[in-house]
Assembly symmetry: C3
Homo-oligomer: 308 residues x 3
Amino acid sequence: MVNLLSLSDLSLDEIDGILNRAQQILDMKERGWFAPKQTLVANLFFEPSTRTRFSFETAEKRLGFHVLNFSSQASSTQKGESLYDTVRTMQAIGAQAVVVRHRREGYYRELMRGIGIPVLNAGDGAGDHPTQALLDLLTLRQEFLLFKGLTVAIIGDLRYSRVARSDANVLSRLGCRVLLSGPEAWKNDSLPGDYVTVDEAVRAADAVIMLRIQHERHEQAMKMTKEAYHCRYGLTRERAAVMHPGSIIMHPGPINRGVELDGDLVESGRSRYFKQIGNGVAVRMASLEWALRIKKEAEENDRVAEKW
Amino acid sequence: MVNLLSLSDLSLDEIDGILNRAQQILDMKERGWFAPKQTLVANLFFEPSTRTRFSFETAEKRLGFHVLNFSSQASSTQKGESLYDTVRTMQAIGAQAVVVRHRREGYYRELMRGIGIPVLNAGDGAGDHPTQALLDLLTLRQEFLLFKGLTVAIIGDLRYSRVARSDANVLSRLGCRVLLSGPEAWKNDSLPGDYVTVDEAVRAADAVIMLRIQHERHEQAMKMTKEAYHCRYGLTRERAAVMHPGSIIMHPGPINRGVELDGDLVESGRSRYFKQIGNGVAVRMASLEWALRIKKEAEENDRVAEKW
Amino acid sequence: MVNLLSLSDLSLDEIDGILNRAQQILDMKERGWFAPKQTLVANLFFEPSTRTRFSFETAEKRLGFHVLNFSSQASSTQKGESLYDTVRTMQAIGAQAVVVRHRREGYYRELMRGIGIPVLNAGDGAGDHPTQALLDLLTLRQEFLLFKGLTVAIIGDLRYSRVARSDANVLSRLGCRVLLSGPEAWKNDSLPGDYVTVDEAVRAADAVIMLRIQHERHEQAMKMTKEAYHCRYGLTRERAAVMHPGSIIMHPGPINRGVELDGDLVESGRSRYFKQIGNGVAVRMASLEWALRIKKEAEENDRVAEKW
């Protein structure tokens, strides 16, 4: 079964194919709305989410799919069913793919056997967030055309951000130079890239990705005020002023304005914040198409194999 | 950008146009279901709602729109994003209009700059509820054809009811005589109209609008029992018996039967309670069409202007 | 008004008709997806539910209906509206049927007057769960073709399970031999059937229906460990080993693996667990069609009667 769990499982060719299709969708008139299909997709969100859930839901509706939405709140008294059984139930009800967000890193390992439909990972704890990485790649490619030789700075909560992990890994594979920066306590040795100061990172980068502080994953409250964080590790107006021409600012959202990023920079000419969100719908459409196409091809191969 | 925030922003001609269209929709076979469109609308409800949310959702679906539903519960851990950023995110995802209900009066003031899609106000604290006022107008017009010279009594929680405010203001502009009544402590000097006793109001009115007690907005619990309230300020069977021929009873819902209104009166011949709800879907369809049409016209004018 | 509240209200012919239609839907290519219709259905769930709600929602979408979803959580501050008023509101908004789950047994009695659209019961406290019984019947019929002479064991929480009640009653009417078993304290004298030991029940049965323990309805916590329950009253691998050839295992879900049922048995060749879920969508499609068809016929008869 094909899944989209981490970009590490995809070849660079596969990633390139998804990005091409997403760009093609964006270039369509009306940004791509397709005829209604007899396809049912279930969104299973066990962690709160606004943008990712609505982005996937919009992607599904534009593809002409029917959508079932499940959120952890509505299932708080969920009677103790395992994630495996919930996904199998969705499959039995008729879902042809599931999109899952879950607090538990690697939640999908328990789904590797027995599930007959693609699982698209919409975030697993501090693990991965592959469609966020894809939309970041698309945003970078729209700007710079080539990844090779780009310098991308990833700044902030490197320890708990799944975006940092997904982005750093795939950018390295694509030949980007990855600069990492942020509070000493949040260093993460598993990430590929070079640690530098925030000022060095901002000055050198073609693209600066400011990470959201993952308050909900930290065991203890941050010991700094928001103002102190902004001043020491945030993208202040002063820091942004020394960014080199043509460089851009990105953020996975939701933004804490004035903390990770000066509020006015969000709407500035360098910011690609809202463009990233629009790109998110397109890469999710392309990802769903990709997973369902490979599933269909596999089923057809099975049928041909049976005949012989 | 055109918005529907308060009827005060609309001319009487614009209001008339929306009511005409709503009535036209009601007169259609099947009460108006339109072909699917490539239009996405997001409903953002930061306060609990049943009837208004489902009424808007139904209106959107009958118009052939795709719908995203966001409710405060599902975003309780909403990671501190501002309303402005949430609405901008919905726009970036592809929403072509947003419907917003929020506890904060005048929440929409922070949306006046930078948002490129219409905002339809589904209730702002004790502020306004323009589509409720529109459905009340439609209900009155179906009954009496003309507003001029009508006597409308608005009775109950005048202090915290956004329905009272929206209704009193637009009815005054339309030439109705507005009578106000209710507990002394809930008087509201900002409303146009004459204060009279409940008995006087009911006896004189062509239409009696009984308001729901806004328990959730009062800082302290009501000092009366429900029975005492009903007896002193409610529409009892005895009071209803002296209403003049042809007069009607209205209520924005949800009803506390036996408090604001005797339970049996809800289903009586004078009651337009359920008719109001049906009218609500039609005025919301007409309102959405109106906002999206003006937006489209503005965009086309911009394009023409650019060519010259 | 026709409703689906309890199978006791339906003749065996009506039940047979619904099952035939459900099987017909399952035999269609693509398992039955119908053209979009101008039909609105509201799902009102006042108790948490995953599988039943998504099963109904999928059924409605496959029938081409538009869906409104209401769950108790989103209406926690539901401003005290009665169930009757909520359903009447849905009708006024334009819903042509409502699906209701409610904690209160027999909640539907307050809906018997004044509601003009069909009510489909998705579970009333420890009362009934007619569509679950229908999907159990369909599963049995697919396996054994005839009900007459079948031996069906229903094991576990007989006291609080609405599935037990709905199943035992209709299976008796259909000429099945019903065997009942479980903890002494959970005996339920209102159920038709013969009490036997778990071992006897399992050995004699053509189909074993293991019930979920309704923790949420018990006034006090179970005095046994899960392991002890499994050992004394659950379907262990040892017990399953003595089931006779061709016999099957069923469970209404969600399963507590290792309690009511050994986890591995769920995926075993005897298990019809996931097949039941798929059958659920089909019987709900057939049930909705049935209720709406009878409503339409009644309306047409009224119109003809008026002409005479």
